[in-house]
């Protein structure tokens, strides 16, 4: 019954018959999800609380593996391989698929070191290279002007919106292919939210983006494709413009017109 469009563009990720079961749960939290994620586009996942949108997002970089006992089934194709395979190198995967969290997660170090962190993990030690790439990342994250004169300061001195942009800079500094955003503005005020949304839209030139949001308007504003999830299933995936004007599924229609939560 799901209505999933075929996308014309190349795919960054391709989810096929994906299922995910939390440790000890009797039934899977995500059921038979098949979903293409277009390259260099923004795909938003919406749906009521508990529909599984965050669970799906965290499957893309296998964040669930941090907590043992969770199981995957099906396939998520990325760069020609199934990243759910046991042989998948998670460290490599996570540098290719970055993530931004609900709350800003500035590390307890200087602004510079925050952005350089991922690069250092990859073994880059050359000072000039590091500082060039940090500058670039900060510029790309539209925060360079605000922090260029205090790169050595503690990152925790920044405001919430700035910290979130710093986290985005840190994530893009390692040049990932895909960026996952998990309700990136839910802890921010409206002005910072606008800044982040603007940035997300700019970033899609460079990376493919998947964003989970409980704010339907946000999905409408920023995304190219929108997937509506309900009770662990992907009910509908379509071009955002079409989905919000002419949803194909009754459930989607009812969700976006507010007839159910």
């Amino acid at each position: 019954m799901a209505s999933i469009i075929d996308i014309k563009e190349e795919c960054a990720l391709h989810v096929r018959d994906f299922e995910f079961t939390y440790k000890g749960a009797e039934s899977p939290s995500l059921k038979k999800i098949t979903m293409p994620i277009a390259k260099h586009s923004i795909t938003a996942l919406i749906g009521p609380s508990g529909c599984g949108k965050t669970t799906l997002l965290r499957s893309f970089n296998r964040m669930h593996d941090l907590y043992p006992g969770n199981t995957y089934a099906g396939e998520i194709e990325f760069e020609g391989r199934n990243i759910l395979s046991d042989k998948e190198d998670l460290i490599h995967l996570r540098t290719k698929i970055g993530m931004i969290f609900q709350k800003p997660t500035a590390f307890p170090m200087s602004i510079f070191d925050n952005v350089a962190y991922g690069m250092r993990l990859q073994g880059i030690k050359n000072k000039t290279e590091l500082s060039d790439r940090v500058e670039k990342a900060l510029k790309d994250a539209a925060i360079w002007k605000e922090v260029s004169d205090r790169l050595k300061h503690d990152a925790n001195g920044l405001s919430g919106g700035q910290q979130q942009r710093l986290c985005i800079a840190r994530a893009i500094a390692v040049e990932p292919e895909v960026l996952l955003f998990d309700e990136p503005t839910s802890a921010l005020d409206p002005i910072s939210t606008q800044g982040i949304e603007r940035l997300v839209i700019e970033l899609k030139e460079r990376v493919s983006i998947i964003i989970v949001t409980h704010n339907m308007q946000q999905a409408a504003r920023v995304s190219d494709y929108t997937g509506f999830m309900y009770l662990g299933e992907l009910i509908e995936l379509g071009e955002t413009e079409k989905l919000f004007v002419t949803p194909k599924e009754k459930l989607t229609q009812e969700y976006i017109t507010g007839k159910f939560g």
């Binding site: 460290i91 995967l93 970055g98 931004i100 969290f101 590390f107 170090m109 962190y117 990859q122 986290c167």
Partner: protein, 282 residues
């Protein structure tokens, strides 16, 4: 009306703390005046402690306190951090729960019991390995280390556990290994809390009486080696307070108590004002 009465009650109770502390200092100071005026600086630089001669030099006791504490810290700190890492990051949920609770409960066991164990079980081992009495600085240091270990591990783990999950997750999301996350995120995040906790443990070790009373020896002599028996301030107080017979003897013991109080006050104040305050701010 009731509001006012209630307020005054609470305020009086709170002020009582300040009064008691001030009172303690005053009382200890007054009672140690006699010893201080008699011996002056010699009280802390001379190690001759001869009640029958009315000669009291606390050098050995002070040194004993410092050395045994240092020894304990050197032994306990790395292991405590290891335990904390194990408990907060490595162990699986079930083990984590069991070990975690054990460590906390062990921290609650009265020190007199550690002392007893040290005396009956650990001292003989030291005697067998190194010869001599077994009682002495080394035994005291090790027993002290084991005694403060659970406390240290528990508070260090608590400090480490304050690191928010998503902070750790975001380091993993950049491709970090577990150790990367521990050393780059958790330890820096909890740094102030960890150091503060370690120093608090140090403060406890300095003032610890019972665990060391059993295994120190109570010999007023600067030890030649760490195997020698010696004494520390609390040991001296515990052993001799109820036996003191002259007023100078009492005064000297009060002087020791005052010295101990000041030492621990300084250490704890450093821990609190420098590190823990920082931790609370962050």
């Amino acid at each position: 009306m009731i509001d006012k009465i209630f307020f005054n009650f609470t305020r009086f109770s709170a002020l009582l703390i300040l009064i008691i502390v001030a009172w303690i200092f005053t009382v200890l100071f007054n009672h140690s005046l006699e010893a201080m005026s008699t011996f002056g600086l010699d009280f802390i630089t001379k190690d001759e402690w001869a009640p029958n001669l009315d000669k009291f030099g606390a050098h050995a006791a002070i040194l004993g306190s410092i050395i045994s504490t240092m020894l304990a810290m050197m032994l306990a700190v790395p292991i405590a951090i290891g335990v904390a890492i194990f408990l907060s990051e490595i162990a699986h949920d079930k083990i984590k729960g069991f070990f975690g609770v054990s460590v906390e409960l062990l921290a609650a066991i009265p020190s007199v019991i550690y002392g007893m164990w040290g005396l009956f079980f650990f001292v003989p081992i030291i005697r067998d390995i190194f010869g001599g009495l077994g009682i002495g600085l080394l035994a005291a240091g090790i027993v002290l280390a084991i005694m403060i270990l659970p406390f240290m591990a528990a508070v260090t783990r608590d400090a480490m556990n304050t690191t928010p999950d998503i902070l750790k997750e975001s380091a993993y999301a950049l491709g970090g290994t577990q150790w990367d996350v521990i050393k780059d995120i958790i330890i820096p995040y909890a740094k102030a809390g960890i150091i503060g906790s370690l120093i608090l443990a140090l403060g406890r070790a300095i003032g610890e009486t019972m665990a060391v009373t059993f295994v120190m020896g109570n010999v007023h002599k600067v030890p030649g080696s760490i195997l020698d028996p010696t004494t520390s301030i609390p040991v001296t107080l515990a052993n001799e307070f109820s036996e003191a017979d002259s007023s100078l003897y009492f005064s000297s013991l009060f002087g020791l108590a005052l010295t101990l109080l000041i030492m621990s006050f300084v250490v704890i104040a450093v821990a609190k004002f420098y590190f823990l305050r920082k931790a609370r701010r962050a």
